[in-house]
């Protein structure tokens, strides 16, 4: 199970990756991350929502509000969800983060026992 430090360190990569496929709202993002990792990684609200706020302020995400339509509960009429999608800047940032992560991973492979990978040059 990844440590909470690991999750915090990579939370931006997780969120940007999930949103690369389609727009989602906060709670759906946390469920998607959990589903893709068989529940091994959970983005807690305390990590997720401040991060979404930060990425939006940095213009990596674009947010819009949409009224909840599928709910049948009358008391929830008018409830809105905040949907996020990647901006062009966010997509570029995701590419940079993936490239940086891959090159770091290749470098690390050279030091791990039982692998015959060549270090990146």
């Amino acid at each position: 199970m990844p440590t909470s430090d690991f999750v915090r360190q990579h939370a931006d990569l997780l969120v940007l990756s999930v949103l690369a496929d389609r727009p989602l709202y906060g709670y759906a993002i946390s469920k998607e991350v959990a589903a893709r990792t068989d529940g091994k990684i959970r983005l807690t609200p305390g990590v997720l929502y401040p991060l979404l706020h930060k990425l939006e302020v940095q213009k990596l995400l674009v947010a819009s509000w949409d009224e909840v339509k599928s709910d049948t509960n009358v008391s929830e009429a008018g409830r809105k969800r905040k949907w996020y999608r990647l901006s062009a800047k966010g997509r570029k940032k995701l590419e940079q983060r993936i490239a940086s992560h891959r090159s770091y991973q290749r470098l690390l492979e050279a030091f791990l026992p039982g692998t015959d990978s060549e270090p990146a040059t």
């Binding site: 709202y25 709670y27 807690t44 609200p45 305390g46 401040p50 706020h53 930060k54 940095q58």
Partner: protein
Amino acid sequence: MKLRERTRSVVNAARSSSDEAPATVDSWLDLFDRLLNLPHAHKIAIREELRSHLTDRVRDLMLAGLDRDLAMRQAISELGEAADLAEQFRSANRYPRRRMIMNGAFIGFGAAAIITAAAIISTPQPSPGSPAVFEAPAARAAAVDTLNSVTLRVSPEMSARQIIKAIADTDQLAVSVDWNSIAEAGMKPDEPVGISGERVTAYQILTEFSNRYDDAWNGIDWRLEGKLLTIDRKVVFSMRERILACYDIEPVIEKMLDHYHVSYEWATAEIGSVIQELIEPDQWQANGGDLAQLRIVSGRMFVNAPLRTHEKVAWVLQELSRGSAEPMSGAQGHASEPNVMPQPTDEERAHHAMSQLAMSQLRNIHMAVQIWGQANEAPLTSIQQLIEGGMLKPGAEKSAAGPAPDGRDYWIDFDAILKSDAEGDWAKRVVGIDRAMFAQGKEVAVLFLDGHIELMPITKLHTLLVSPVNQGVKPDLPSLK
């Protein structure tokens, strides 16, 4: 600590009562609101998002078999301590705030920065502290002409959104607006703006918006690139606009070689590292940022970055070239006093605030005079007429610098403003001066016939007033202190 205790008491309250569960969510959100020291618009959005999260989460937990009370308790406890979460949001917001503070320093040096930019451009031989600049911010005058050529009919009930749409509907300009960003300036896009006129120009409208929301960081500003008009907050433009400059770092490298006997390559790399590690590290492309770039080629260092970064780069290079030649320790072996990058004094800050107010007031007067010119045949003879006509607020004629020795606050040549067929360069024709600032012998806010306003030293103002285009203008200037 006290705040955390209050948070726990709210969570405990949730554990003690099931009937009041929805009220508990509100209590938690109310407490969170109080702890969240962010702009109002952010607070509302965050609160709404968390409420929606809680609703979704409670529903899922109930579907998993928990009763409503338990589900509510669990959902709230997953959010954690309100104080901790508020702190997380505050630190998430620090990214732009830190930049805003930097921008504040830049704006604080406003006039000095403009002068510095001019000096940079005219420097023929680049030295470590004064780079040669390839490109400077685009001139505003041409944009003003274009915006003045776009006219539309505006009625008082029209909202900002409707007015901006009307500008786009003229098909003369494409308009780009980030309404979320604009909302952070305090503007409510769908409320009536209260501007009216048969032929109001796009420039007048944008000037009015800028005047109403004129905060130095979060105020509204615009840019015109070709036919694309972009409206956003000043801080957004400030983050976006960069200047490419070339620094001659040979003198610095030579001193490092003499003093430390290191290789040329090492010295070159070290200079680049020092700058990218010390000056706003996050912004450099080498560190994963996208605001600034640095390349060193053959003793020349090319930096593409915001102006505020250039100010710091120049200072670091000056220190490097000086530091290697001078002892860094005192005679007793104690570290010498650090040479701190100069900051504006309280007096400079106060003068800057006064200058901003003076410029804002001049803009308001200019706008009011323009509206008067469109609505009235009779010439304008005093500012009082504008106040009585409801086009200016009472007191708008008072200078931020206090009254001039002769008791008059502003001098405005109304004839010049209304004379639309004036010859010569409108951007050089002086029509308004803050007389009280002039009397203090400091930089003066000056209004030009094309509507732009500059701060300038009195010597420059005198030079302008004797130029041919201003021969018809005879300002009644007070005596200097």
